[in-house]
Amino acid sequence: MNANPIIRVEHLHKWFDLLHIIKDVSFTVQLREVLVIIGRSGSGKSTLLRCLNFLEEPSAGTISIADKSVTCGVGVRPDRNQILSLRLSTGMVFQEFNLFPHMTVIENVIEGLVTVKKLNKAEAITLGEQYLGKVGLLEKRDEHPIRLSGGQKQRVAIARALAMQPSVMLFDEPTSALDPELIGEVLDVMKQLAYEGTTMLVVTHEMGFARDVADRIMHVDHGEIIEEGTPEQIFDEPKDIRTKTFLEPLRKVQHL
């Protein structure tokens, strides 16, 4: 493996009041790597992901993405500009899509380009259409999100994140709010991104996707990484008993 990771997380801690949600987590992600984070609900896996772009401010630790690095701790408050520039290195896709309902599809996709990156509108639209095409929704460019299915909304959300041309893409349970018949179209887009070499961190319960697409899988429980490895290692020969018991009931349902 390359010695120069694109993401480096060092000694990350997160407390919610007196609850220690993330306990001294450190890991790295290589360029073009697809890292899937699995774990039961409440294990801290979403919080871990959200700490990377400071949607949750870490209580302590250092987050480095591309050439940006931010450190938190008691008495160490990161300044706003550091956080903003870190966020520009990440694209995020949410469970609930969070499209802007008052904007059309194309307006959603170009919003960051125009408002944050200060591109002129024509340039932004060219770029936006390119990414809308990539997720197969160019013909919906002038619709409002309310007219789209859940799967279409999530694909627009992916295009919105991609348009900012981040170094890494973060997916926070991107298919958990979707009806089962709509999950496939979103996973297909994500697979395509993975094959193109996008660096991706994916929190998901879709074990089939994890097995097919992940380069590495990380099992998080009680705020700690308890096991990580290739999909084969995790699914076929899990070493930790907790990984075994977590995966066992999923095997039958998801045909692993």
């Binding site: 499209l99 802007f100 408002t115």
Partner: protein, 290 residues
Amino acid sequence: MSVETAPPLGADFTDPDMAMGLQFIAQERRIRLAHMFQVGLVWLVLVVIFSFALLLMNIDPAYIVDHIDFVLKGVWVTIGVSLASIIIASVLALFGALGRLSGNPIADGISGFYVSVIRGTPLLIQIYIIYLGLPQIGRQLQIAGFQQLGSVFTLSAIQSGILALSLNYGAYMTEIFRAGIQSISHGQREAAAAIGMTRWQMMRRVILPQAVRVIIPDIGNQFIAMQKDSALVSVMGIWEITYRANRLARQESKFMEMFLLAAALYFILTIISTFFQSRLERRLAHAYER
């Protein structure tokens, strides 16, 4: 509540299943109509009772008819004062709400203080302080040699009225604006933050455009309430509805005649405003469905 009379489009009377459905629709319609009819009847009875009572009181309708033009001219003043005040109040409320939510202790402190002082004191006292109290400060300043600054504190009746209503409603509306802004889901903020927006960009591009749709019907309600509260500015001799009615009432002791007329004018204003307000509300309810 609207009562439709035509059967729904695509109704097929020969289909027994649909025929059954149509019977239920008709039944619900009958119940709704009967209710509306009964409510209307109650209104009618009340109007008759009040009219009868007025006749017994020896009201002089001719006095009303003779002076209706004079009082009617006040309607425009009432509307003008209310309109100017609701606009300024909205601006104050926007800044007040942004201050409360800014996380900046100075802005939060200033708008919190503003809201609690205004809400804790009567509008009438606020009017007196602005119209009669402020010029005292102005005179002190002028004595101290600040001629220009001193004259700013002496406001005309109209200016004082608009300022008092604006400050007063601005405080109450700060809470409305704040609630409207907070009603926008947290996910919207997160999505804006995730693409690297600053707090101000988020507010301007994502939160406020959505919050405005929530707030506008409430601004309408406040405007309707303000039309009536603006009667208080008559104490400064502004020639709006109440002042004009009061003046004529005192001339010949025709109090009931003139104040009933004023009441009727406010009532009509309210009905008209409510009509437009509910139309606006219905249009905003179908937001984003272009």
